[in-house]
């Protein structure tokens, strides 16, 4: 008897949750819910489970207090997450502005054609691509015209000396000097990293140069985007098309990035 009653009650709850009750039955059941807190709790749980596990629904039952929501909003407003949110949005805008229509078409209809074309390219014209990269590198490399960050009258500071050494092609000495004097707390730290990375590159140590430019990117200063540009130059010189394209894509996320126009030119014919 007890089990039968339970069964009937369950059936009622589910018909209510699934919206299968007629108006009269619905009114009566809603009245019962109002006066029976246990029933109310049971209905709330079953509705929540049903809406969650039904793929065409979603459970939006109120379960959170204002404090919990406010607490979460505060977390979302912390600088780290705020920055991540901005990056996601910025990259999303760039991605949206990229011309992906060809890619999508090939995905849908011409997948086999794209594969064949890729294979053909890989087999027949790698040398052409290499030469093309080298041309980009030759046209755009600017290692001898690094920006100067030294103000007049401050020729005695450590960066001034590094710039002077670098201009005289004394790359090993530039590296030694900067390694000894670099100061991560100084406002000139990003500028020092530019010279250190460039000096490594000119000393045939691309791996260290790339690592230094990564550090530059990580400074999250106005000069971070210089790091992308110099990494792009290194990848172009090494004929690393994939990474070069990645750098181009990042630089093109914002016109404020260093050498944005040049990156646009390269990207147009890359």
């Amino acid at each position: 008897m007890n089990s039968e009653f339970e069964h009937m009650r369950e059936e009622e709850i589910m018909r209510f949750v699934r919206g299968e009750m007629g108006p009269e039955e619905l009114n009566a059941f809603e009245e019962q819910i109002k006066s029976d807190s246990l029933l109310k709790e049971e209905v709330a749980l079953q509705r929540s489970v049903y809406n969650s596990l039904n793929e065409n629904e979603w459970d939006t039952s109120e379960m959170s207090t204002t404090e919990e929501i406010e607490e979460l909003k505060n977390v979302l407003n912390e600088p780290g997450l705020k920055r991540a949110s901005e990056t996601i949005k910025q990259v999303g805008n760039t991605y949206a502005s990229m011309d992906t229509s060809e890619l999508k078409t090939s995905k849908k209809t011409y997948k086999w054609l794209a594969m064949a074309a890729t294979l053909l390219l890989l087999l027949t014209i790698p040398f052409l691509l290499k030469n093309q990269d080298k041309d980009f590198y030759t046209t755009y490399e600017d290692w001898n015209a690094l920006p100067s960050f030294v103000e007049k009258g401050s020729s005695q500071n450590s960066l001034a000396l590094a710039e002077e050494l670098y201009k005289k092609d004394k790359f090993e000495e530039t590296i030694a000097h900067l390694k000894e004097n670099i100061d991560a707390e100084s406002t000139l730290y990003p500028a020092s990293l530019i010279y250190l990375g460039a000096a490594y590159f000119k000393s045939q140590n691309s791996a260290k140069a790339l690592a230094v430019f990564d550090q530059l990117v990580d400074t999250k200063t106005l000069y971070s985007s210089y790091g992308y540009w110099y990494k792009l130059l290194i990848y172009l010189q090494k004929n690393d098309q994939t990474n070069a394209q990645k750098m181009l894509d990042v630089i093109l996320t914002s016109p404020d990035n260093y050498n944005f126009k040049k990156a646009e030119e390269i990207n147009a014919s890359f």
Partner: protein, 185 residues
């Protein structure tokens, strides 16, 4: 696992290169799903953004241990979209009379709802294979008659009994868990 770690670390560091990688790998799939389900192009970016923020937040609380970044991320996107459709439906039923809330409030509600969804999913996965099949059909709106045909039970009464038992089981599993008391339903 390595891929997940790479993506989440990059997101926390604001590394645009890797974030672009995520867009290039997964955006198309999410976009197709939303466009196929009554969405517009402009909806996709919001869903993508909120799903990544959810992952970040969860990872910050406790490092995520998931087998496939793609599968998990896509599930989050689908749930955000389910929520959007549900809210749109509610808005229509209320003749547009539903207070518009800011993005952060919206995302905060979703975060709590998604956690609850994951809790129920965990309990659902603890059921027997047969229970998952029966309840899966039932929760997705199938009538007893349709389940009878689909799963070849002997009578409507047997189907009803089965649904009753399986539902009782999942409710019991939920109630036994301490997290249930924090749900505040």
């Amino acid at each position: 696992m390595e891929e997940t770690e790479k993506y989440l670390t990059a997101l926390l560091k604001g590394d645009s290169t890797v974030v672009l990688d995520i867009y290039q790998k997964f955006f198309y799939k999410v976009e197709s799903f939303i466009l196929d389900n009554h969405g517009k192009k402009e909806d996709v970016q919001d869903v993508f953004h909120d799903a990544l923020m959810y992952l970040l937040l969860k990872h910050r609380e406790k490092p995520l241990k998931i087998n496939s970044f793609e599968a998990y991320f896509f599930t989050i996107c689908k749930n955000i979209w389910r929520r959007t459709l549900k809210n749109n439906k509610t808005r229509v039923m209320n003749d547009g009379d539903l207070a518009l809330v800011d993005n952060e409030t919206n995302l905060s509600h979703f975060i709590l709802e998604q956690k609850r969804w994951e809790f129920y999913q965990e309990k659902f996965q603890m059921l027997s294979g047969n229970c998952k099949e029966v309840l899966g059909n039932y929760f997705n709106g199938m009538s007893y008659e349709e389940i009878l045909e689909d799963l070849t039970y002997s009578s409507i009464n047997t189907v009803r009994q089965r649904v009753f038992k399986c539902k009782a089981k999942i409710i019991q599993l939920i109630k036994e868990d301490l997290r249930y008391h924090k749900l505040k339903l």
